[in-house]
Structure formats: C-alpha cells, structure tokens
Symmetry: C2
C-alpha cells in the first residue's frame, strides 16, 4: 500500500523540510517545525503524488486514499481532544494548498471547515461565544463557496451590506450572533441559487470538496499563467494540508501576524513584521484593517513588542531558532489564541535583489553559512536589478501602462519617435526615450543615443530587446496598449496623448511606463556586490566573456568582470552612419572590381574599429566573427534612401530595386549568409581577415601586447567550408605577419550553430581551433522555429505545457542541448581539450549556464550587463556539479 | 616503397578490371585484356594515388616515381623491341588520362610521343615512309602543344591552310614529306611565340609534360563541371596510361575503328561499329572523313566485313570474348596496323535507357547474367526516359533554346501564359503548354490542365519542378534565355517572338524548347520493362509508395506499381477553385465561431476527396498528412482577390491587408505551420480527423474494405506536441467509429522533419505508430539552408567541391542521413519494428534510396512517375546490402 497521507503534530512528524516535492513547501515546513517541537496545530498533508494521480486518472483518487485520510484525521482528533463533525466538541480544520514552489495562482485556504448547523452549537459551547461561532460559520461558507463552488465573494458582502442597512448599522462589529445566524441562512440560499447545489452539510463532504478544489486549482488558468511567468514546471503538482484550526479572533488576547526574520526590502538583520489583534489571518491579507508593526508602536497602535512582551519574546526566539535552523531568512505566519502562540507556516522569505545580496553576505560573515551557501542564496537574475539605475523604492507615481520587461533598469527622458531625432537630441545633451513600433538594425545609432527604448510590438527576444540588453539600455517591449503615430508625432494610451518632447519614465525591470520624471537610485558595484562576485570568481571554473562590438562595450564588459570577448559582431560596425553607404556600394557592386573598391574603403574603418577593441582587451581573448547576416539586410528601405544609394552606385532606382528584389529571400535565416557569403564573395572575408590581423599587429607595436585574436567563421555546416575559408584566412594572416616580422598568434575557429555542424563536429574540429556554440541559431534550426515568428504560437505552447520556457530565453536541454553536447564530445574526440564556448542570449541565462557547465564548456559569453549574472550562475553551477559528483559515488554504492 | 606504376603486356599484367579505382577504367581494362592474352600494345599505368599525392603535395610527385616509370618503360621497350628516345629504332608512346569513371572533361590523349628531330629519322627508317613519319611528327606537336601547352589547335590548322594555299593544293593528302617537315618547323616557332616556351625536344621532358597535363586536367573547369553534372566525386583522381604506339595510318592494310558488342541505341544483339582505313584514331573522332559501318557496305565504301573478312572475324570473336568475359556490352577501340589487329581500349558501352533495359533483360535470357545482374545493369534514372512520351529519335528539329530538364517527357501544345487560360483551353480539349516566370500553389489547376510547363526562373527543386514531377508533366525550368511578357502575351528568345496560341514542343528530359510540333513515341510499360520490374519486385524488401493527393494521382501510382500512398498533402486540396475562398474565410475568421462555420463547409469537401482516394487504395496503406503550410500561403495576392475575399469575410480590404500583414512571417519555413497550427487552432485538425475517419467509414460501408488509414502529424519537434494532438485525434476517431458500430483500424504517426524530432525520437515513438521522414524540411533545418534561396550560393558550393550534389536532390548522408539513422535507431529502441518511411524528393533518388535501405527504412514514397525508378533502385540497394553483408565476414576474417 502506497503512503499518500503524512501526519504531523508538535514533537512528531512524518517527513520534514527535505520532502518539499512530496509534501509541498508548506507541508514540509509544518512537518519540520513539528520535528523541532515548535507549537504547530496538528494536521496532515495529502502528498503531491495524489495530484499527479488525479490528473493521470481522469480526476479520480486511488481507492485507499480515503482510509488514509480518515486515519490521519483520527490522530489530529486525538491530539486536539476534539472530533471532526462531532456535535458536542467539534474539530474544525483549515484546508490549504501547498505546492513544492509557492504559487499564488492556486486555491489558497478554506478555514473553519467542519462547521454546519449542528457543529456550530459545539463551537458556541467550546468558546462560550455565540457571535464568534456564527461569525466563523459565515466566514467558512463565504470562503468555501467562493473557492470550491465558484460563488463570487462580493455577493456575500452584498448580503452583509443589505443586512447592515436594514439594521441601520455601519460596521460588521455591530452585528450580533443572531444577525450572523440569519446571514448564514441567506448565504446558503445564495449558494443554492448561484451554484445550483446545496451547500454541503456533512463535514466529510466539505473536506473532500475542498481537497478536490485544491487539486483542480493546480490547472486553473491563473495557476498555469503564474507557472509560465515564473518558470515552474507543470509536472510538480500540489499537496493539500489539513490542519486543526486555531483562532486569532477569540478576543483581545488573540491575534494573527506575519514576521520576517530580517528586513525583506533592505536585508537589514532586524526582525520585521505586522500583526492584528483579535483577527483571523485573512483579515491581514484582505487589508480591511491596517496591520500594526510588531516592533514599532505608531499613534494609538501599540506594537506587539509593547502590547504582548512575553509572546513577542517567544516569537523572536522562535524566529531566531527557525532562521538558524533553516540557515535562511524566514517568513513566518503565526496566530495567538487566547495567549498561546501557534505557528502556521514558515518558509524562505521573498526578498528584493538588494536584500538577497545583503542577507547572503551578512549570514556568511555571521558564520551562519559558507561562501558557497551565500553564492547559492542569490538568484542570479535578481542581480540584474542591481546593475542598473532603478526607480527609488520610496517614490510615489502612477503607472500609465505596462509592457514586457525586456531589458532591466529605469530611465526618464523626452519622447522621440525616430533614431535620427534621438541621435540629434542626444548629441545636444538631452535625455531621450526612443519610442517606436519596432526597431531594426538601422535604428542602432538612435538606440545608442537614447536612455531607454519603448516599442509597441515585439517580444522578449525582439530586435529592440536583444540590442537594448546588449547595450544595457532599459527597454519595454510589446506594449500593445500604446498606439504610435510617428507621422503625427504622438503616442496614445487609452485617453492619454503624449507628444514628442513630453517626458516619460520607463522601468525595464517590470515593464512600467510612467508619465513624467521619477526619482532614481544608482547601482553600486562595490560592497556586498563586490564581495559576492569575488566569492563566485573563486569558485567557478568556467570562463565568462562578453559579447561586445565596440571599445565602449568592451570597457563596460571589463568593468563587469568579463575575461575576454566571446563575440564581436563585425556587421554591427557596418551600420554606423558614414559606413552604411560604403557597405551598400559593396553589396550592389555589379562586378568584383567595383566590390573591391568598396572593400578597400571599408578596410581602414574596420581596422580602426578592431584597434580600439584590441587596445581595451590587450592580453585577453577576443573572438571576432566574420560577416554573418544576409547582405540584403544592409539595403535601404525608404524611397529617398534608395534614390541616394542608386546615385552613389551609379545606377537608377529602378535597377537598384530589381537588384534588391533579386536579393530578397523567402527564408533569410536559412539563406545566403554566414560563411556562404565568404565562399561566394571571398573578397569580403579576405578584407576582414586583413583588417583584424593588421589591427592586431598595430596594437602589438604601439602597446607592446596584442589580444589573443580568435577569428570565427559563422554558419559552418561541414568541414569543407571551414577548410576552404581557413586556407584563405591563413594565407592573408601569414603574409601580413611575415611582412611585419612580428610574432603574433591567432586562431581560427567556427560558430557551431547548425545541427549538421554538431553532427559532423569531429571532422570540423580537424580545421577548427575552437568552437563557439551559437545557440540562438542552433535553436532556430534544431527546433525549426524562427525567433522572429514564434510569437504567434508560443503562447499556445506555453499554455498547453508543451514548452516549459521560451527556448530562446533558456536552452532546450533535450534537443538543442543534446546537439551541443554531441558537438563538444565529437569535437574533443578529434581535439582533446578543444576550447568551446557559447555566445548569444543563452550565455546570460542561469539555467542555460548550468547546462553549459554540465557539458563541460570552457566559457560562456553574454552581453556586458549580464556578465555579473553569468559569473554568479557559473559559480552556482560549479557548486551543483560538485554536489552531483560527490553524491554519485554514494548512489553507485547503493546500487551495487 | 609504394608501388605507383603498373605494367601490362599481352599475357602479363599487374592488376585487372577490378582495380578501376587504382588504375582508372582504361588502365584496368588494358590490364584485364592483357591477362586474357588479347593483342594489346604494351604499356604501363601511373595510378590514381599519384593524382591524390599531386594535389595533396602542392603539385609535386613522390621521389621514387621517376625510377618506377623508367623501369616500366624499359619493359615496354623490351616487349616492343624499340627504345624510347633512340635515334635509330625509337619507341613512340601514347599518353592518355583514365579516371575510374570516364570523363570527357579531362585531357584525353597525346599520340606519337617521343618524336623529335632525331627520332623522326628512326621512324622514317622503321616505316620506310618519310611522309608518314613527318605527318606523325606534326600531329604530335599539334596535339601536345594544344593539350599540354595551351596553344590552340586552330592556329596549327591555319598554318597548314596557308601552306596549302602557297602550294596551290587543297587536300592534306597533297602535302609531301617535305611539306610536313617544313610545317614542323613552323609549328615549333608558333609554339615558342604563343606559349613563350620552346617545344620540348627531349622525349623524357615530353613524357613528364604530358603526365603533368593529365593530372592538371583533373581540376580543369571543364572536368569540374562535368563531375558536377554527372555526380562524380572529386576525390577519385585520374590515372595516366602510357602505351606503345600502333598506327592505323600506315597504308591501306591499316585502319582504326570502334565497335559496340550490341546496338547502343536499341539494345539489339548485333555487333555495331565504324572504322576508317589508313587513319589514326583522332581522325575518327574529329569527323573529317566519314567513317564506314563495319558490317554494312554503303555506296563505294566497303564494310570491314567485306574488305577485311579475316580481321573482321577476329574482331567479332574478340568482341564476343570480351562481352562474355565482362558480362556486359562493350565499347572497343581497335587499330589495324599493316594487317595486325590491336586493341586499344574496352569499356562498358554507353547506351540509351531503352537499350540498357533490353540488353539487361536479353543477357539474362541468354544465361549470360542473373536476374540480379540484370537489375544492377540498368541505371534507375534512365528508366525515367521510358515512362513518358519522348520525341521520336528519328525526328529532325531545331532547338530554340534550353532550360533545366526539370521533369522528364516531352509534349507539344499551344502557349498559354496563365493558369486560368490553361484550364479554360484544356477543358475545351486543346493541348496547351503553360509558360510562366515561375509558378505558385495558385497555378496548380493550370499545371494540371497543361501538357507541359515552362518557367523562366527557378531550379530543379522549384515549385514548378516539384509539382510537375509529381503530376508527371514534362517541365523545363530556369530557362533564363526566355523573356516572358505576360501582359503583352509574348515570350521572346533572342530574336524569336512567340505569342499565346503558338505551338511549341518541350522536352523535359533534356530541357530542349522547340518551335512547332515534333513527332513523339509513347512509353511502353510492358515487355522488357515489365519483366525487369518483376525481377526488381522479387528482390527488394523495402516498400515503395507514392505521394498522391488526388484519386487520379493514386490511380497513376497504382499503375506504376506503388504499394500505397506515403504522403497525401491535404492542403493541395485547399487550392481548388470553389474551395480556396472557404479556406480564406477560415483563415481570416476573427473568432472561433466564424472559423468553425468555414470548417463546417470544408468538412464535406475534404471527406469526399478522401473517399475518392480511399476507394482507389482500398486495402493498401494511405498516409494522410494534416494541414502543414503556414496559413498565409493561402491568402489572396491581387487587389481584386483581396477585395473579393474582404467582402466575403465581411470586412474591408484595408482591414484584411492589416490582418495579412500581421500574418506575414520573416522565415515562413520556420514559422507558424505544421502541428503548430493544430495546437493553436485545434478545430482545424479536428475537422480533418473527422473528414478522414468519416471517409474511411463510408468507403468501408460501400466497398466492404477500407484502406489502412495512417494519420500523420507534421513538423513535430517533441513528444508533447504529438501527445496533445493525438489525444484529440483519437477522441474524434473513437467517437465516430463507435457511433458507426464498425471495425476500422487507423494509426497515428508523425513526420520526422526537424533535427529535434530525430534527437528525441525515442520519446516521440511512445506516441507514434509510425515515422515518416520528411527529408526536404529535415535538410533545410539540419543544414540551415532554405531550398527556395539556395540557388544564390549552390553554384559556388558545387564549384568549390564543398557539396558533391545538391542536397535537396540527393540526401546528405553525413548530416541529414545521420539524423535519419538516429531517428530510426532511437524510435526502434522504444518500439522495435516501428514502421518508418521517407516521403519527399529524396524518395525517388536512387542514391538516397540506397541510403534508406542501408538504415533499414520500411518504405520509400515518391511521386507516382518515379515509382518504377524507386522499385528498381530499391532492388539494387537490396543486392548491394546483401553483397556488403556477405563481404563483411571475409573482411573480418582477414583482419583477425
């Protein structure tokens, strides 16, 4: 017989904190507190296995569940000295959901379960307070009907309001036991009318109704949405906790409250919390009465410390005990029933990124946890908040509307609608926010000039989002409520019309858009931040580099601790004004001589770019990717531009358009790009190889040190492409190095971004000095999903649980990951110790970084502002790998 | 010391016919003939290993090559009793290239090598004929200078012409020994002037110059192009054959000729050939004199049989001996020198598809070869010619221009420029040829109505090409010389302007376009063809199905021997007039009710399509793929259509355009299509599942038998997609089957066409009853190449040897093939014996079919007209697999 139900009572528990997956977070911690002999009302937990069973078996339960529940209830009755459903001395219980990870989207709580017209009399007798008994009864009906029977809460409130009006009173406290009794009757009528079913009278039916509601709520739309937003797997399931009731509303010696063992906003090491006298937990949550600080008396409201000093001391001791026990800041729910402290829940407290950092570093300093524990305690994603200016937590403001939080940080500035305006005003020293329907590579200069970017369209991986994250600009994307009329120079949200020049504030951390300016706080890279980063660097073995295309990016990357450049996209340099037209000349050249002319003009520009980059990164590795995107991406769009380029290229706009039409591709992602350009137009890569090597030689001469130059060939599908191109690159490089009489080492490697490259990595490695996995494109090809087009079905996929996360945000371990692993393994079969890295969005995602470590990548590379995130994530991955390794032998032993 | 040089002389040879890869075809057969003691002039072969060495080592030779050549030359001298370079009794040799596969693109032959001003006197003495000696000498200079020193042949001819004019004679035969001697001097001057180098006097230098020229010609542009066109690997390399000269031009008892052991056009079993008295081989090739039939005397030209009966009998005996020895029709080159027959070459004779078929079947009937040998003797691609009407081989006509031979067969008809005209005129009983820049899915009805299709743009795998092959319509694509002005109703080729209604003839087998009508011969599926097909079916184990979307396609498929339908593309039915507007309604529906309305209209249409198909295929498997392409493919393009659809859908053209703009995708191939449509719009697949099952139930009821219905979900990337959709499909199917009270089996499987599907095939197999590999899309994603866009760089890739063949024509074994194999292996780990097939273009390509057999696919599916090709290729693959299997143990034995 499988065990489905786990009992707990002070001093005795089946399970503990380690059983979260089985008992849910709440259940596991209740058991743990019982094991510590803390004052916890007795109860039992129905495990998450039942949730899985429930959904695997057409929403039914195993046959033996009911017996196990009955037996567990008997134990609770024995501890509490009351009997569930007993007329004279009834036991009331709460029923709460409790998933392994806390989930506000689910059914939360039904209190006072077990009440009916008979047992209510027992409560009257127990408490000697008929008003309390009927108030509890009506609360139970209200809650149960709302969460189990779908009768909206406000309907009950309407009945109460009517009754008060009929009685001519204004407060609930003015209602008597009789009033509540009468309302109980009205409530039951309402339930029958609205739900078509009678309110269940039998405590047994009530219990199973509530249990079923918890399991069903696991797949409510809200829960699904919450899981999607918070990356929680749908397979975990929820547990159900059934626990004897205690009452914080049994008079002025009763209370209910919540305490944090440290300040969850700042991380300061002082107990922090709120409580309400003579109230039940839901009163605190509902916000009907203002709660009182547990340590600070304000006005007439005495703090708990002042009002109930003995109980406060007990709470403080318990709080310290729990924090020390769990070695983490705790969020504790408590109830005081007629002078007795009861603990209803403890869990790791939610905290801001700032608090997480301080708590982790402090606890380590206090000797409570090790450096490694401190590293594991900070969610790398939370660091992001700390690396950008943020809206002052004390500021008051109204949110105009919300978009996707595409790139963190906040900024205020004047609205501009074109990249050119952004650049013009930016140069004039104005702070501007670039507002566009969507951005394209031609907007880059405007994005650089702007303090933040707002787009009406596009998702978390749209052009605007990716580029903004790379630049460290706050960005809010996909703000569908915003209507932009570039022509009229307005952006409209509902009834609000904003004009170019109006000031707005963007918060890219939460997607908020605010009218006017809001006070900011600046990020600090010192103090706790620097300490934690140092610890992380001590632990991790995987390198962290940055994707950087300009000397400025490279400097930022260095400041954030990057150990080199993992990806320099040479084409980004092509979009700079004054260059784009030369690039267009090159593309539109009708013969090789004309193309060579344009390339000769580009050569000194590229060389000088590389010199800047190389100076910043002298001594460090710098991976430069040769031209990658399809050439038509560089072509003009507007009629005026077309006319201009046509005249430059000595052709007519019509002829130019024909040329552009010929170059148009059905699927540009799979088109004439990457090394295919290098093979069909070898003169382009020749020029780039020359610019790179010349720049390195120049820097070597002037600075005395060059970077470790790594020339990267993109979109290779097989060894022949690389061999063909490498021989040309080597020829250019050798000639220049010999002519300079210098000693310059360089390597030639490849992006691995096609499935075929992974499959044939053993032969590719014969020609490659390093592999850099381009998992953006590898995801597109492996899954056959265009990043630009996935928005139309991604929602359906996440909703149906087919995808757990957007595969462009976090690597698809089973598919793309398997190919990456195959690529590494095959590559190292040919070249043991082959240097392997990853560049692209996944390089800054903690889950993906963990994967990278597990398959033995040499380094990850991400945008400069993600470098600290990656450093921390890499350290965490290292610790987990070590734990896995040390756990493995034990497992093996057990198996043998 | 490695052996590089292999000697041969009658009765003695180092090597034989089996050593083609080492000695080249020519060299291997010379050795083989020597081993048979046939009269072959002595010589030696420099192996293909030297060619590989030459290119791997910067065009140099191994140090020990020269000694081996010198030693081999000494043996030839001994046999012939002459000495290479000797003044008194010189040995002359020919130098010929000889690759493992015959390649006209390479340097062919230098004759009479060894002549210089000294040795020519020796020849005068040997032959007693000064004119012959100097004629030979000048021929040698002419040939050598042309092929080794790049001095154009016509320049020498000009000198001869000038000299004749100076002498006042008109024929070469009027020139004397002195004249030729004088011309030799002029020739050498010409060589020095044109090449900047003296003509080599030393026979040793001549020999090495010719040998080097052969190896260099391996990578001449012509050779590369030829290899590309004929799918010959660049890694094979060529051998060089050096052989003692014999002379067919030493008087009237000398001759040169070529004979085929059977008729290479018809396959008839009679000796066939041509010869020239008193001539050298090149005279036959050059076509200066008309050759004479060896068996038929015509006019004053006596046949060889009549003129030299003894030698003819000897030739006939040798011919029979060689055919019997090689068990194949031979193409034999011979020379008669002063009454002695010498054999210079034998090789498998080139033949037409018709001849190949007859020879194979006849030889088997004659007991010369087995059924299996007969199967192996016919190139499956040649069968294609036999399955379509062809231009009468005896017809005379002028070719207007040439395009790509995209779909075989020939047809004549009136030019039409639109699909609608094609349909209208086709219905009126006119034979029409559809002429378009390129075709799109909206042209399907016109392509059906036309006898053949001509496009100006697009390659071998363009829409027109793929659809035409599927329909069995002749098609010529990518005819860049044709300028189409649809508006004016003209097609122009150079100065020729053709109008709508003018008659043209298209030959899709060779890409010819001809003005006017040309006589045709009809294909025959009986006789030798039927016999060979029967033998193939007896041998093969892999199934052959057809891709068919309509009952008519299905009937054709059955006629050609298909054993089921491997791919029915339901969307092709959507384009039919009268339906497309309902489809558009469905797509543009703004809510689910409106969409359901449109689906309700589509349901009976789809059901009736399936009923037609199922009737034709009762008892056989039919795989139906649910809707696959992105919905926007079905949207209207022209303004008028947009207006019409807008009015139907109750919206405005502007709004419709906005909708269409929203649906536009950057990379539609990787977009919202396949099962993604089924998940985001489940009602579409629900309707299709219903139509399929209802149709099967109806056919079962009326015919008493249903086909084996296989419902195929496209573009699956992981098991969750399939599980989600399968549960809906099963629900629809079970409900209908239960309601009908019938017994109907059906299976649900998936297209494997994404790398991720191959990688996770083990889990997908949990939900799939079968896999069908969609290698078109799998190639696109694995290699990251869009089929529609690859034209812009494919040429460069084939030219550089990076691709050996277009991967969309023949499967990329190392990349795509590896994934297919992984998919099968993983799938069968979960479900041993899982049914696996391939559908798409590769299913009709013999090399790909061989791959399919090697990895254990259950069946291949191809267009109906390729079915016989696939049956034969599958039989060949079976035989090769068996040979591989039986060879393996021997190898193992040798290794152990």
């Amino acid at each position: 017989m499988k065990k489905w139900v786990y009992s707990f009572q002070p001093g005795q528990a089946e399970g503990g904190a380690a059983d979260k997956n089985l008992l849910g977070g709440k259940g596991a911690n209740l058991a743990e507190m019982c094991a510590l002999s803390l004052p916890v009302p007795a109860g039992f937990t129905i495990s998450t296995d039942i949730c899985t069973y429930f959904y695997d078996n057409n929403k039914t339960y195993p046959a033996d569940l009911e017996d196990q529940v009955t037996a567990a209830m008997k134990k609770v009755e024995a501890v509490m000295g009351r009997t569930f459903g007993d007329a004279g001395n009834p036991l009331l219980v709460s029923v709460r959901s409790g998933a392994p990870i806390s989930m506000p989207g689910m059914m939360d709580t039904v209190l006072n379960l077990g009440l009916n017209d008979t047992t209510v009399q027992g409560i009257v007798k127990q408490s000697g307070d008929a008003r309390f008994a009927y108030d509890s009864y009506r609360r139970f009906i209200q809650m149960y009907a709302d969460v189990v029977m779908n009768v909206p809460h406000h309907m009950f409130e309407d009945l109460i309001r009517q009754h008060k009006s009929y009685k001519g009173v204004s407060d609930d406290t003015d209602l008597t036991a009789d009033d509540w009794q009468r309302l109980v009757g009205q409530f039951k009528d309402l339930v029958r009318r609205e739900s078509g079913q009678a309110f269940p009278e039998q405590p047994h039916d009530q219990l199973w109704g509530a249990v079923g509601a918890v399991f069903k709520s696991w797949n409510s739309q809200r829960a699904i949405t919450y899981r999607r937003l918070n990356d929680i797997s749908a397979t975990l399931g929820t547990a159900v906790n059934v626990q004897a009731m205690v009452f914080g509303n049994m008079g002025n010696d009763s209370a209910t409250g919540v305490t944090f063992t440290r300040n969850p906003s700042t991380g300061e090491n002082v107990i922090y919390g709120e409580f309400l006298v003579n109230a039940q937990g839901e009163d605190l949550v509902a916000g009907i009465r203002n709660p009182v600080d547990i340590t600070k008396s304000i006005g007439g409201d005495a703090s708990m410390e002042n009002r109930m000093p003995g109980l406060f001391k007990q709470l403080k001791d318990v709080s310290t005990q729990l924090e020390t026990h769990y070695r983490d800041m705790q969020d504790i729910e408590f109830t005081i029933e007629q002078g007795n402290l009861w603990l209803l829940q403890t869990r790791g407290g939610k905290r801001t990124g700032r608090a997480a950092l301080k708590i982790a570093v402090d606890m380590s300093a206090e000797g409570l946890i090790s450096h490694e524990d401190a590293i594991l305690k900070v969610d790398p994603r939370a660091l992001d908040q700390l690396l950008h200016p943020a809206i002052d937590p004390n500021a008051h403001y109204d949110v105009l509307t919300k978009g996707l939080p595409a790139s963190p940080g906040a900024a205020s500035g004047k609205i501009v609608f074109t990249a050119d305006d952004a650049e013009k005003m930016g140069k004039a020293g104005e702070k501007v926010i670039l507002v566009r329907d969507e951005t394209s590579p031609e907007d880059i200069h405007g994005m650089h000039a702007a303090k933040a970017i707002l787009t009406a369209r596009g998702g978390m991986t749209s052009h605007a989002a990716v580029v903004a994250r790379g630049m460290g600009r706050p960005c809010v994307c996909g703000t569908t409520t915003v209507h932009i009329d570039e022509h009229a120079g307005t952006m409209t949200v509902g009834g609000t019309v904003l004009k170019a020049g109006d000031i707005i504030t963007l918060d890219g951390t939460n997607g908020h858009i605010i009218v006017g300016e809001v006070p900011m706080v600046e990020p600090s890279l010192t103090g706790e931040f620097a300490r934690l980063m140092q610890w992380a660097d001590d632990v991790r073995t995987m390198g962290v580099r940055a994707n950087a295309d300009t000397p400025k990016d490279a400097e930022t990357a260095r400041r954030f601790g990057a150990e080199g450049i993992g990806l320099c996209r040479t084409e980004h340099m092509f979009f700079e004004p004054g260059r784009i037209n030369v690039v267009r000349q090159m593309i539109l050249a009708e013969d090789i001589e004309a193309r060579q002319d344009a390339l000769d003009k580009l050569l000194p520009m590229q060389r000088s770019d590389f010199e800047g980059l190389f100076r910043t990164m002298a001594g460090l590795p710098v991976t430069i990717r040769l031209l990658d995107p399809p050439l038509h991406e560089f072509l003009p769009h507007a009629e005026a531009e077309i006319a201009e380029v046509a005249s430059m290229a000595g052709t007519t706009p019509e002829r130019l358009k024909t040329r552009m039409h010929q170059m148009r591709e059905v699927n540009p992602m799979l088109g004439h790009r990457g090394c295919r350009l290098g093979i069909s137009h070898p003169e382009i890569y020749d020029m780039q190889a020359r610019a790179i090597i010349e720049a390195a030689l120049n820097v070597l001469k002037t600075e005395g040190a060059a970077p470790q130059v790594e020339i990267m060939v993109p979109l290779v599908g097989g060894v022949k492409e690389l061999a063909w191109l490498r021989s040309r690159i080597d020829a250019v490089a050798q000639e220049l190095i010999t002519a300079a009489g210098a000693k310059l080492d360089y390597t030639v490697g490849t992006m691995i971004e096609l499935p075929r490259a992974c499959i044939t990595a053993d032969t590719i490695a014969e020609q490659a000095d390093f592999f850099s996995f381009g998992t953006n494109d590898l995801t597109q090809t492996t899954m056959g999903i265009s990043r630009d087009d996935s928005g139309s079905f991604l929602g359906a996929y996440l909703g149906a649980g087919i995808f757990e996360r957007d595969p462009f945000e976090s690597i698809d371990v089973d598919g793309v990951g398997a190919l990456v692993e195959m690529g590494i393994t095959k590559g190292r079969t040919t070249k043991p110790g082959l240097k392997t890295g990853i560049c692209g969005e996944h390089g800054g995602d903690p889950a993906s970084i963990r994967f990278c470590r597990s398959v033995g990548l040499t380094y990850v590379s991400c945008s400069p502002f993600r470098v600290p995130v990656a450093r921390l994530a890499a350290a965490q991955a290292e610790i987990w790998e070590a734990k896995k390794a040390s756990a493995a032998p034990a497992k093996l032993k057990a198996a043998s």
